[in-house]
């Protein structure tokens, strides 16, 4: 079933979010923290770099201090060695003095390079070197030479000079050490504060980024959540509407006056409405998911052969299968009811068969009423004919009685024979009338071949009296050999009816023309006989013409039952034929008025059973 057009939309327009937008929000939520962390990491790297630089500078300053200390130590070694040699004159004591020369030069060079690397003025190293050189050349070397020569080296002035020179060297080195130590302290303070700043900054940044990400994510998620909420609400409303619509349909189905059974495409029962439960004798619970053939047994009302269910028929034909096929439903308790059924396929949106719905109704009452009406109409036909027939019978009867009287008193055998012949003729006429009358009632069980000419003539015989009374001239064009298959009594009833109607319609001295012609023997559907009953009577008013085949519609007031044409059409339809009426009721043009009834009867009847009368 397609959803009804008035259902609310699934997603409210103001709150809608398509998949692209949703994906964009997801990407934003994922990428924002990554970007923020990348920025944070960049800042961290920059800070660490800067901190490393500071540490490197501290290290370099440390190296300078170390080089300085080394140089000082080497100088002390030289001084100590020199002092030992001066006191002992032993060359061994001079060894440390000599050994320190090269390392000292290296140490001073290193110091100079380190200072240059730190972009500090290297002239302080030159000053140390120069002061040391001064000490060496003006004090140490002469002292060594003097000691080797065995001279006196204990001159206080000389030694004081040496001491002062060495003090100057030491003072310069101490200055440098002091400067570098101060520098290192400053650098260390800077490094510590830098480290603290990095940590504080990082914590602050991390907090800020965290908060920003949270706020952003929350806001984005809120958007999604709002839309989701709206969608959910839409879904809820939709579900509610679907439920209500389904409930409405279900109530409609269950309270409908016809039996309804809904099956899945495999023919298993899904729903049996109340009427269907009553008709079949199966409850919804018992019938649920059972194959339809378990629950719904239908047989042909005459042959008792099992009939294909509408569901099977729909599955086979893939289209709606019509109502009114007059079958008998065998109920669960074994009782029978007459039903008409129909089936229709249910397609899903893809156009596949998703189920089959079957509707059926109990027509037992309807058939009973119909048969009562049919019987009524038959009685009415008989009633209308009774007076005419009594008259028709009476006349020959009177003649026969009179002839018998004559014969009784007649001596001449030739005359008697003549009277007998006349009496025979009259009796034959009576026989014809009585056969025609009986022909209206005796019915065969199966369709039989009917000679159209003979049938129409027997009808005309029955109505001959009425025709004569009404001074209506009847002409016929009834060729021999036209045959149809059907139920003669029913067809006689039809033509009696149609002819009586024509008689009622024409005025005194009017004319009725009855013809029968073969109709299209090559067409399978129109192969049969066309019978026209044409009168030049008053015609049928256009507003009445539309209703003449309805039951209880009559233009004859008390004289008509209003069932004649309705029954006639029923019978003709049953034979697979058709009945049509053309009428002109123009009173100003005497040539134009009159009614023509055309009855088509197929050569092979579609009818398999006589009407229930």
């Amino acid at each position: 079933m397609r959803p009804s057009a008035n259902q609310p939309p699934l997603f409210p327009a103001g709150n809608s979010l398509n998949l692209t937008q949703f994906n964009r929000i997801l990407i934003q939520i994922l990428l924002t923290p990554v970007l923020a962390l990348a920025v944070l990491a960049a800042i961290l790297v920059w800070q660490i770099r800067s901190s490393q630089n500071t540490a490197a500078r501290v290290q370099a300053t440390g190296d300078i201090i170390a080089a300085c200390s080394n140089a000082e130590k080497l100088m002390v070694d030289q001084e100590t060695g020199l002092r030992g040699f001066q006191i002992t004159g032993d060359e061994k004591f001079l060894q440390p003095y000599r050994d320190a020369n090269a390392p000292l030069e290296d140490a001073l060079n290193n110091l100079q390079r380190a200072l240059e690397a730190q972009h500090e003025a290297p002239d302080v190293v030159d000053a140390v070197r120069s002061a040391h050189t001064t000490w060496q050349t003006s004090y140490a070397l002469p002292l060594i030479a003097t000691t080797r020569a065995g001279g006196n080296t204990y001159d206080p002035a000389l030694n004081m000079t040496g001491k002062l020179q060495m003090d100057a060297v030491r003072a310069r080195l101490a200055d440098l050490l002091d400067r570098e130590a101060n520098l290192r302290r400053g650098q260390l303070v800077h490094w510590r504060s830098q480290s603290r700043h990095i940590i504080e900054g990082l914590i602050l940044l991390a907090l800020l980024v965290g908060v920003a990400i949270s706020v952003f994510t929350v806001s984005r998620l809120h958007t999604v959540s709002d839309v989701f909420e709206g969608t959910l609400e839409g879904l809820r409303r939709h579900a509610q509407a679907t439920y209500e619509s389904e409930e409405r349909l279900r109530t409609t189905l269950t309270s409908i006056g016809d039996g309804v059974i809904v099956c899945d495409p495999d023919g298993n029962i899904e729903l049996v409405n109340t009427v269907a439960q009553n008709l079949t004798g199966w409850t919804q619970a018992d019938a649920f998911h059972r194959p339809l053939s378990d629950v719904f047994h239908i047989v042909n009302e005459d042959t008792r052969e099992l009939v294909e269910t509408p569901v099977d028929k729909v599955k086979r034909l893939k289209r709606v299968v019509g109502l009114a096929n007059h079958t008998v439903l065998l109920r669960r308790d074994g009782s029978e009811i007459q039903i008409d059924d129909s089936g229709a396929p249910i397609y899903n949106r893809a156009g596949d068969l998703s189920g089959i719905v079957m509707v059926f109704r109990d027509i037992t009452e309807q058939r009973r009423t119909q048969s009562v009406l049919l019987a009524t109409e038959k009685l009415a036909v008989a009633g209308r004919l009774a007076a005419t027939i009594a008259h028709e019978m009476h006349n020959p009867l009177d003649s026969v009685a009179n002839l018998l009287y004559l014969i009784k008193n007649e001596q001449d055998p030739a005359t008697s024979a003549h009277y007998l012949q006349m009496a025979e003729g009259e009796l034959a006429r009576m026989g014809q009338i009585s056969r025609a009358m009986l022909g209206l009632y005796r019915e065969s069980k199966m369709p039989v071949p009917i000679d159209v000419k003979e049938m129409l003539q027997s009808v005309l015989v029955l109505l001959e009296g009425q025709t004569r009374q009404a001074q209506v001239s009847v002409t016929t064009s009834l060729p021999e050999g036209l045959e149809v298959e059907g139920f003669p009594a029913e067809l006689r009833q039809v033509f009696t009816n149609l002819f009586a109607n024509a008689l009622d319609a024409v005025d005194m001295g009017g004319h009725i023309h009855v013809t029968a012609t073969a109709s299209n023997p090559t067409s399978p559907t129109r192969n049969g006989v066309l019978i026209h009953i044409q009168d030049d009577g008053s015609g049928i008013a256009p507003d009445a013409l539309a209703h003449i085949f309805e039951p209880f519609f009559t233009t004859k007031g008390e004289r008509g039952t209003g069932l004649g044409l309705w029954v006639s059409r029923g019978i003709v339809d049953k034979h697979g034929g058709s009945i049509t009426v053309r009428s002109e009721s123009n009173p100003s043009d005497s040539e134009a008025h009159g009614t023509t009834i055309e009855v088509f009867l197929p050569r092979l009847s579609a009818a398999k059973t006589p009407s229930l009368t």
Binding site: A390, H391, H394, N395, D398, N402, L406, E426, M508
Partner: protein, 113 residues
């Protein structure tokens, strides 16, 4: 006697019976012909059928009463009951099938009076 009936055989047989009983019989197949004969000939009694095309027996009898009120009329009919105003017009009314003796007896009655 004038016999009027649209049934040719019945009329012929009736004529034979009446003639056999000694009556002189005129026949007419319908009302207008019957009235013409009735007017033209010295008819002493009329046997009239009721159900005839055109004019029915009642109408013919009424016209005859206007022309020659004293002539007795016997109305025959296949119908069991006829309207009173029709039966009142005629002297005798009988249904067909009562037989020839009954008819002859009724007719004889006219001439005895």
């Amino acid at each position: 006697v004038l016999c009027v009936d649209d049934e040719a055989v019945g009329l012929r047989v009736r004529q034979l019976i009446l003639e056999r009983s000694g009556y002189r019989v005129l026949t007419a197949p319908d009302g207008p012909t019957g009235l013409a004969l009735f007017d033209d000939h010295p008819v002493e009694a009329v046997i009239l059928d009721y159900a005839m095309p055109g004019m029915h027996g009642g109408q013919v009898a009424a016209r005859m009463r206007e022309l020659k009120p004293h002539v007795p009329i016997l109305l025959l009919s296949a119908y069991m009951s006829l309207p009173d105003e029709v039966t009142r017009l005629v002297n005798v009314y009988m249904t067909k099938g009562e037989g020839a003796p009954a008819l002859l007896q009724k007719l004889e009655g006219f001439f005895q009076n």
